[in-house]
């Protein structure tokens, strides 16, 4: 039973009790507690179940490396799964639930997995995916789905607020233990601008817990002094609860500040993501203790020795009345001392080394603790809690010498420097044989833009394992007495001759349930690379990313492969150091702030007149305008009919508009478009196609020649920016000697389409320009005045109707729109949206970029050969279009499609062909690119790409439907309406 001790707890404020709940049960802790320490203090040892076998699990660690104690936290809009109890500070009213169990933490049916564990070996998923197939579908998957899963996905929108900081700093120090404090002080005293961050709420790291003495005083005093000094310096900023997440190219660092997790507040940002550029990054991230691999090392009550020490010293929590310490190094003896000083029993220290000696060992012996050397744990007794340990000889196979009663086990397999941040951006590691860990290789640091190292590691993270060494490594003026310590003896399996029975109970990765036997099996099955073994066994792939399991796992692997650890190497460390919230990554970019919204000058009018919006790029365009009691489908059909029969009004302002100007503008556009633009006369318009160098169609639009040196190129709504960039790329990087300037003036002008049989009457009613057939022919443009406003009128048509597009300075857009709308009343004008626009163009067989094209379609595929100049030597895409595959007569080409029964084909439906492919799927011979119900023709019409389509007019082809049936459609010309163009030629 874990309990709160009557005295002690250096981080506790016993004057302030805090109420919280765990699985609905009310509990009490103190200010200064983490959720983990509060749970232990309240006697709650069982905190979760493992992922695969649903074994009962307790706390193993006291910090970010904790693999087991993941909880669901909060509710509703603040609900969040997978929160680490060890890094969650306690607050009044905190509500936590354990995860991974069904139906309850104490009684879990998934634990049956435990008893079939020999059927769930390493690589189970891969093996079972293959054979037997029915077993996967009917047996494994339903079972695994019900019992697996880490936490629950939040259902409600995140109610919290997040933000980003952008910071440039000379020297960033990550880690607020004594190494980080000393390094920050040194840099600050040298006059450098310093930012020091610490992931926990406290400064000093492990030193105060471990009883370090600095400059003759307790570490706490030195830490307090140093923090005060730093706080008083103008060139220093310090932050707690702020973790170094990742180190990236050229001194870029992300840090994650948890502002209100310890004291929730609805109006304040919960997390803040710091985006830092630092000239130098000093990582002082300490070290993590490694577990030992003995049978039953996952039974609740088995903890890291350092964590036991933390709970006793920091939070006055007893891990149990009787704690056995198991170790291969001197450091764990500190735990025995801490337990004894707290008045708790230490029945034995089981040391795998044959002759440990040194001051710590002697002190423990002097305290009257039994020290067993050359010994090991054969097995932990107990299932849901520790009841004792069976002791054996480390050199043997596990024959039990004695069972020692205890209710907790403190284990230490040595320490591993936290080298994550060093490794993120390319820092290499070296294996330190004497200390049995990987540490940063100072010769192979991450380098910056100048080729010089920009990351420095100090303290335990650099392999300095005593207080004196840490301070010296950080360049501190402060000093500590040198410590004599006995050497560590690497122990990767306990006992070293353990057989299969024991090895299948030795956990490496607690969260993903990976055991020593799994890694050995992977090695036997041929997985020699540590990266492959990781993926095959899932070792280190859980949310703790192998902080505890990494070194033990690769040591077991290297043993199985008869290779040395440095040869096997370690897996790649990748950011983030620990998981960070999605909210912090998004910051304020959510909801209305997610991305800028582009509105035309007529936006408010559309809004007031029933616009049903459609996002087009960053723009919002009316899809249609809903009248009372009308469906979207009805509105679209009405708008098409009204435009064909009377007149429609279209907001075309979103069309891209790029001015291309200069003596070489014509020559340039001849290269850019497939057809000839240099021969266009001022005052005239020409439809153009733009391809990339591969030969594929990328954009289209009408080009107007303004004067000898000036062209106005219209692009698709979404295309203005990338077409402009495309132009600039060629001008700047290929033809930089050509005299051409471009300007994207899309937003400078509003553009309004007046479309339909009465279009000319509407312009005449507004008045000011002669737009008669004689004065303005099809594909002419003119500058003039309408209703007193300076306008440019283009007589162009994307609907087959008599049509004028009127450009006006954006500031006049709404005024002109209002005038046209008012004048149009008399002739039955109605606005129409993008869907009517699409139907109008499809009835005429006009292509739409993004519907008929997808980046793999050439103009020739779309039978647009008339718009490809035969006279030009070259244009962008000409050589690409001559490639053998693009000239293949078997290519799918554009045709019209008419369903036999008049129904509407499904969007993207495939035309099926004879036979089946190697996967047993029906062969295909084409696909639908656009499909609509045409109100003009009263039937379904479609365009599609069909193999040799134009040669197959009249043939009936079958098209897929999502219900598994097919629809028959006849191949026809793509122009469904007014093929002679009589309607626009008036």
């Amino acid at each position: 039973m874990t309990t709160r001790l009557a005295r002690g707890g250096r981080l506790l404020n016993r004057g302030r009790a805090l109420e919280f709940t765990f699985n609905g049960k009310r509990m009490t802790g103190y200010q200064g507690d983490t959720l983990a320490s509060a749970l232990l203090g309240a006697g709650q040892r069982l905190v979760g179940r493992s992922f695969k076998y649903h074994r009962p699990r307790g706390l193993v660690a006291s910090g970010a490396e904790e693999p087991n104690a993941l909880v669901n936290l909060g509710e509703g809009g603040t609900f969040e799964p997978n929160q680490r109890a060890t890094t969650q500070e306690l607050y009044d009213g905190l509500a936590a639930e354990s995860q991974n169990h069904w139906p309850s933490l104490e009684f879990d049916v998934g634990v049956a997995n435990n008893y079939v564990s020999r059927f769930l070996p390493a690589g189970f998923y891969y093996k079972t995916f293959i054979n037997p197939r029915p077993a996967w579908k009917h047996l494994f998957e339903p079972f695994i789905r019900q019992s697996a899963g880490l936490g629950r996905a939040p259902k409600e929108r995140d109610a919290d607020v997040y933000e980003h900081f952008h910071v440039h700093v000379d020297c960033l120090v990550i880690g607020g233990g004594i190494a980080g404090l000393a390094a920050a002080l040194k840099a600050a005293e040298a006059g450098r601008e310093v930012l020091l961050i610490e992931q926990t709420a406290h400064w000093g790291g492990r030193a105060p817990v471990d009883g370090a003495v600095i400059d003759g005083a307790e570490a706490d005093a030195w830490v307090k002094n140093t923090v005060e000094t730093l706080e008083g310096m103008e060139n220093v900023r310090i932050r707690t609860r702020c973790m170094g997440v990742g180190v990236y190219d050229h001194g870029y660092v992300l840090a994650y500040e948890r502002l209100t997790d310890h004291d929730p507040h609805p109006d304040l940002p919960r997390h803040r993501l710091w985006k830092i550029r630092a000239s130098e990054v000093i990582t002082a991230t300490g070290a993590l203790e490694r577990p030992l691999s003995f049978a039953g090392n996952d039974v609740p009550g088995v903890m890291l020795a350092s964590a036991v020490r933390d709970y006793v010293v920091n939070w006055a929590v007893s891990p149990g009345d009787r704690t056995v310490v198991v170790t291969n190094n001197d450091d764990a003896y500190r735990t025995a001392i801490a337990l004894k000083e707290a008045g708790l029993e230490v029945p034995a220290v089981i040391d795998a080394r044959t002759a440990p000696e040194g001051p710590l060992v002697e002190r423990v012996r002097a305290l009257g603790v039994r020290v067993e050397t050359g010994r090991a744990v054969a097995k932990v007794k107990g299932r849901a809690k520790v009841e004792g340990v069976a002791m054996t000889m480390q050199a043997g196979e596990g024959a039990v010498l004695e069972v020692i009663d205890c209710d907790a086990v403190a284990m230490s397999g040595g320490w591993s420097p936290v080298v994550h941040l060093w490794s993120h951006c390319g820092g290499k590691l070296v294996w330190d044989d004497a200390q049995a860990f990987f540490r940063p290789d100072p010769e192979k640091a991450p380098t910056g833009a100048d080729g010089q190292p920009f990351v420095r590691v100090v303290g335990a993270a650099n392999g300095a394992m005593t207080t004196a060494d840490v301070l010296a490594d950080a360049g501190a003026d402060a000093q500590a007495a040198p410590e004599a310590a006995g050497p560590i003896e690497p122990v990767w399996i306990m006992p070293q001759g353990a057989g299969p029975e024991l090895r299948s109970k030795m956990w490496l990765d607690y969260q993903n349930d990976v055991k020593v036997s799994d890694v050995q099996l992977a090695a036997r099955e041929g997985y020699e690379s540590v990266e492959h073994t990781k993926r095959y066994t899932t070792l280190g792939m859980a949310t703790d990313q192998g902080k505890l399991s990494n070194i033990n796992g690769l040591a077991v692997l290297s043993r199985s492969l008869n290779a040395e650890i440095p040869q096997v190497g370690t897996t790649t460390f990748r950011p983030p150091y620990t998981p960070i919230s999605f909210g912090s990554i998004a910051g304020q970019a959510r909801g209305d702030m997610f991305q800028p919204l582009r509105r035309t000058p007529m936006h408010a009018w559309h809004m007031a007149n029933g616009a049903h919006w459609e996002p087009v790029g960053h723009w919002r365009r009316p899809y249609c305008y809903l009248q009372p009691a009308e469906t979207v489908e009805e509105a679209v059909q009405r708008e098409v009919k009204n435009t064909r029969e009377a007149v429609g009004l279209l907001d075309a302002s979103t069309l891209g508009k790029i001015v291309v100007k200069g003596p070489d503008a014509g020559r340039f556009l001849d290269m850019l478009y497939t057809n000839m633009m240099s021969t266009l006369k001022p005052g005239r318009c020409r439809y153009g196609l733009m391809c990339n160098e591969n030969g594929f169609l990328m954009d289209d639009g009408v080009v107007a020649r303004i004067d000898e040196d000036t062209f106005l190129c219209h692009t698709t709504t979404g295309g203005a920016e990338h077409v402009h960039a495309h132009m600039e790329e060629w001008l700047q990087t290929e033809w930089w000697d050509w005299q051409v300037y471009t300007a994207n003036v899309t937003e400078h002008y509003a553009q309004i389409g007046v479309v339909g049989p009465h279009a000319r009457e509407v312009l005449d009613l507004v008045g000011g320009m002669d737009v008669s057939k004689e004065a303005m022919a099809f594909m002419d443009w003119q500058d003039g005045e309408l209703g007193g406003l300076p306008v440019r009128v283009f007589r162009i048509s994307f609907s087959g109707e008599l049509s004028y597009e009127i450009a006006v300075k954006a500031g006049y857009g709404r005024a002109l729109w209002d005038m046209l709308a008012e004048a149009g009343r008399e002739v039955g004008m109605m606005p129409y949206g993008t869907e009517a626009l699409h139907i109008l163009r499809a009835e005429k067989g006009f292509i739409m970029i993004g519907d008929e094209t997808d980046g793999t379609v050439t103009p020739q595929d779309l039978c647009l050969d008339w718009a490809i100049s035969k006279k030009k030597d070259d244009y962008i895409g000409k050589r690409g279009q001559a490639r053998s595959h693009l000239t293949d007569p078997e290519r799918w080409k554009l045709v019209g499609l008419e369903t036999v029964d008049g129904s509407v084909l499904e969007d993207g439906a495939y035309a099926v062909a004879e036979g089946r492919n190697a996967n047993g799927q029906r062969n295909v011979q084409g696909r639908v690119t656009s499909t609509y119900r045409s109100p003009t023709l009263g039937r379904g019409i479609a365009m599609g790409l069909i193999r040799r389509g134009p040669e197959r007019m009249g043939e009936v082809v079958e098209f897929t439907r999502t219900d598994g049936t097919t629809t028959r459609a006849k191949i026809v010309q793509p122009v469904f309406f007014d093929p002679e163009g009589e309607k626009q030629n008036v």
């Binding site: 190219d249 100048d450 790329e729 990087t733 030597d873």
Partner: protein, 109 residues
């Protein structure tokens, strides 16, 4: 997250301001080109572990293109220079030689 100095406006631009443009100093071939030459121009790219020449555009800045010479392995930047050249200028080559004696990229050294 690289920082490259835009030689057009002089700003040390964060990678988020920049758009990558792939390999530098490609020679465009037109309609007269053989299949092999066109394939080389369109698809074949260097993929060095070490010295590399790239095109970048200061897209969210001055909008101009430029060239960068850098090491893909260590992220060292040897220099940035005008987009309006067909080969790396001598000062850039010298800067690379000072840091990577004996370097070679395509047939440039």
């Amino acid at each position: 997250m690289l920082i490259l100095r835009c030689p057009n406006c002089g700003i040390d631009a964060d990678e988020t301001e920049l758009a990558p443009g792939g390999e530098a100093h490609l020679r465009r071939v037109g309609p007269e080109a053989s299949d092999d030459a066109f394939e080389g121009y369109l698809f074949h790219r260097e993929n060095p572990r070490g010295v590399h020449f790239e095109r970048w555009r200061h897209a969210a800045g001055c909008g101009k293109w430029f060239h960068a010479a850098r090491c893909t392995q260590t992220l060292e930047v040897f220099g940035t220079y005008s987009a309006q050249v067909t080969d790396p200028p001598q000062d850039i080559r010298d800067a690379i030689t000072a840091r990577r004696p004996g370097w070679r990229w395509r047939d440039i050294e």
